[in-house]
Symmetry: C2
Subunit: 96 residues, 2 copies
Amino acid sequence: MTIPRLTDAERDQALHDLPGWTLSDDGLAIEIDLEFGDFNEAFGFMTRVAIHADKADHHPEWFNVYNKVRLRLTTHDAGGLSMRDVEMAQFIDGIV
Amino acid sequence: MTIPRLTDAERDQALHDLPGWTLSDDGLAIEIDLEFGDFNEAFGFMTRVAIHADKADHHPEWFNVYNKVRLRLTTHDAGGLSMRDVEMAQFIDGIV
């Protein structure tokens, strides 16, 4: 089953409801840069996201160096943003 | 205490002893691309590296998407490669 891609209106609403997240340059993803106290905190956060992601079968693209984590959420099966990305962003906002 | 940077000869020897790792374009880091069976395996690997990294107080720069992990090792305090990077690469080679 194909996952429906968000309409432009849905995408704008989602971004409005997710302060801190920005639309990627290509318009296919939402991104955020997070900073933690140290590596232990950053990787602890990543571990919580990883467990959630594997359960939801929806995985982030992410980069980490020491206390910084850059996240990019997109849905390959939708060719862009879907509700899965919004739900993942909401989960992330809930734990940071 | 400053961490000594590898000499060119030491760097070449290290790269010779670490097949799969390549010198970054800027010459300041060693890099590798790894691929696992799925996200669970990839993040399991990352968790082992993270625990080791925090204990060694030497942290990788890394990017992950699903089953892929791209790693970059460098020593900021040395302004390039040091033995810490070689040791970390050896640890990583030992668990993949």
